[in-house]
């Protein structure tokens, strides 16, 4: 397990090195990346402060307000723009009258928690498998290689849907989603780590460490992991927005987080029946989801360009999967 915990160390320690300063200098010149970073920072802060903001707004995400929706028209909120008012800043949910602002904030918590958690699982499993394949003997490499192939070829969304149906309903859903998305989606990371490990293995400083008497895992930890940080961070930056979309998709299909826990995907699923009567209820979660995914994508692209300008613009087909359709 030490290898696992240490895996994040070089990532956290990155800002101290000259490379990080260089990356920062490149990122600084790209306004789109800066705007994205600011948007994401704001979103994370809002998500973290959700209970606080809910108290400030005086609203509970689960409280029904029957008096705010027009039961004669099937439950459409009274007033314009989804019933926005001084009490309910972004209006209320049609049908139930629950406060939309607070529910969107709590939805952001789920979205970010699941996406980031799943990314961590993907990176850890990918690192472990990739390193083992790159450092192990021929048979280990071949076996792990085939397993990776199987996971790359799996119908991701279809299996994720099936898996969420298998697990009992009382298992904590966010954790389940993290595990399902994480354990199905590590193959790309492992491929990159393996390829990188094979290249690094032949370099002098790694050979020197081995000659100096370090064991295989010690070498992996002290010599390989720091050099693996850049490609892994780059790839993880692509994984986050993909994971956000997968979570939203599963919730949209009704196999993600269970109600009454709010999630953006679930709201959009409900919105299918309301888009004529209450457009605000579609536009708010859709806009938020779109902005979040776009910001992560732009930032990820910028980080990739900054870390490795040569690779910029090249699309890693075969290692990257778009799965949510």
């Amino acid at each position: 397990m030490t290898a696992l915990t240490d895996a994040t160390a070089p990532v956290a320690g990155l800002p101290a090195t000259g490379a990080a300063r260089q990356v920062w200098r490149r990122l600084r010149t790209r306004p789109a990346a800066l705007v994205s970073a600011a948007v994401l920072l704001l979103l994370v802060l809002l998500a973290l402060a959700a209970p606080l903001l809910a108290a400030l707004a005086g609203q509970d995400p689960h409280a029904y307000h029957d008096d705010l929706v027009d039961s004669a028209r099937g439950g459409v909120p009274y007033g314009s723009f989804g019933g926005a008012s001084a009490d309910h800043w972004l209006g209320v949910e049609p049908g139930t009258g629950r406060d939309l602002f607070v529910r969107l904030l709590y939805g952001a918590r789920i979205s970010l928690l699941v996406a980031l958690g799943a990314t961590v699982v993907q990176v850890l499993v990918g690192l472990l498998v990739g390193l083992a394949a790159g450092l192990g003997n021929r048979w280990v490499d071949a076996t792990l290689g085939r397993i990776t192939d199987v996971f790359l070829a799996l119908p991701f969304l279809v299996l994720a849907i099936a898996l969420t149906a298998v697990v009992p309903r009382d298992f904590p859903r966010p954790l389940l989603l993290i595990l399902v998305i994480g354990l199905l989606g590590w193959a790309g990371t492992s491929r990159i780590v393996r390829a990188q490990t094979l290249t690094l293995k032949s370099l002098d400083f790694v050979a020197a460490s081995r000659l100096a008497g370090s064991g295989r895992w010690r070498t992996a930890r002290r010599e390989l992991l720091p050099s693996l940080a850049a490609p892994v961070i780059t790839y993880a930056a692509i994984l986050v927005p993909t994971n956000i979309v997968v979570e939203a998709s599963l919730s949209f299909l009704g196999v993600g987080v269970t109600p009454p826990t709010p999630s953006w995907g679930q709201m959009l699923s409900t919105a299918q029946t309301w888009f004529r009567a209450d457009p605000a209820y579609v536009l708010l979660p859709a806009g938020l989801l779109f902005t979040t995914v776009l910001a992560f994508t732009v930032l990820g692209d910028a980080v990739r360009t900054a870390l490795d300008p040569r690779e910029a613009g090249r699309l890693g087909v075969g290692t990257r999967k778009e799965t949510s359709r």
Partner: protein, 329 residues
């Protein structure tokens, strides 16, 4: 060539066997009693025992799996109260909901999924290759920047957001089209096309962003190659360089990716199908999950696996045919 194909197919068979074991094991550990689910709400213990015996659920997992394999390759019989039900060779079991053969159900739902996938492919190829080429050829200009932003936004937009916005704009706001309902092609081709238009657009736009990026990068890569420089040096016009040479380099990866995407879609474009209410495999899968209808879920997951694995083989072959420099080993 033949040897390569055989080798790949053998590998594919192994992957599929592994997938079937995995899926079977997964669903066996599933809590709940399949016999009770298959029998329905108002079943007494006796009836449940009967169903259990009929579906072979009283045997060990291993025996059940072997029976499942036997069903796939040779067919199997289900004996029940009303006589023997024979299930033909690629037998994937019986649906718990209505005793329908899963193979039959899949064949019934396949046309809807195929209509969606093929129509969307036309759109993503046209838009994807078009914008990709344009942004590669107008490199550095405002056009390229705009297209880059658009494709970046496109790759990130979940298909159901795109679909919902299309529905809102076209059906609710502009009222150009009624809300789509699926009409089979055989019944009324014109109505089929009109009703599929929005799903095609949603899925096609969604996918085209990826293709635009791919086309752009492979075109730029091809244009940077030595033989293009040589053609230019010989005085070939820009137009002929692009249409006769750059395109030839740009197209193979697009074909390969299309084959893979099409393969994946045969497991159903779950999100698009459930948003637009298209009775394809994806919607069947989700319904199967809701009703814990294991044979249906397992059948569709396996079918998707087959499609994806075969699509990968086909993609590699197409790639090699389109680009002679690729060696098949």
């Amino acid at each position: 060539m033949t040897r390569y194909v055989l080798k790949r197919l053998a590998g594919a068979a192994l992957v599929l066997l592994a997938l079937s074991v995995l899926v079977y094991a997964l669903f066996y550990v599933m809590p709940g009693d399949p016999a009770r689910l298959a029998c329905g709400e108002r079943c007494n213990p006796q009836q449940i025992a009967q169903v259990r015996e009929r579906l072979g659920l009283d045997q060990s997992v291993f025996a059940q799996y072997l029976h499942f394999l036997q069903g796939v390759f040779a067919g199997r019989d289900y004996s029940g109260g009303t006589g023997v039900l024979h299930c033909d060779a690629p037998c994937l079991g019986l649906s718990y909901q209505n005793d329908q053969q899963v193979t039959e159900l899949i064949l019934e739902r396949l046309p809807a999924t195929a209509s969606l996938a093929l129509g969307a492919m036309v759109i993503w190829l046209v838009i994807g290759i078009g914008t990709g080429l344009l942004s590669a050829l107008r490199r550095g200009g405002l056009t390229e920047r705009t297209l880059t932003v658009l494709t970046l936004a496109g790759t990130g937009t979940p298909v159901f957001i795109l679909g919902l916005l299309l529905l809102m704009a076209v059906c609710a706001y502009l009222q150009w089209l009624p809300f789509p309902t699926y009409v089979p092609l055989g019944e009324d081709p014109e109505q089929w096309a009109w009703n599929m238009l929005l799903p095609w657009l949603a899925l096609g736009f969604f996918e085209s962003a990826k293709y635009a990026r791919l086309t752009r990068s492979s075109t730029l890569e091809t244009l940077a190659e030595d033989h293009i420089r040589t053609f230019r040096a010989y005085g070939a016009g820009e137009r002929s360089v692009v249409t006769r040479h750059a395109l030839r380099g740009a197209v193979p990866p697009v074909i390969a990716l299309s084959a893979i995407d099409l393969g994946t879609m045969f497991g159903g474009a779950v999100l698009t199908e459930s948003l637009f209410g298209i009775p394809g495999l994806g919607k069947t899968l989700i319904d199967g999950v809701r009703h814990v209808d294991l044979p249906v879920v397992v059948g569709i997951v396996l079918l998707t696996g087959v499609a994806v694995v075969l699509a990968n083989v086909v993609a590699d072959l197409l790639y090699a045919l389109a680009d002679r420099r690729v060696a098949l080993t």
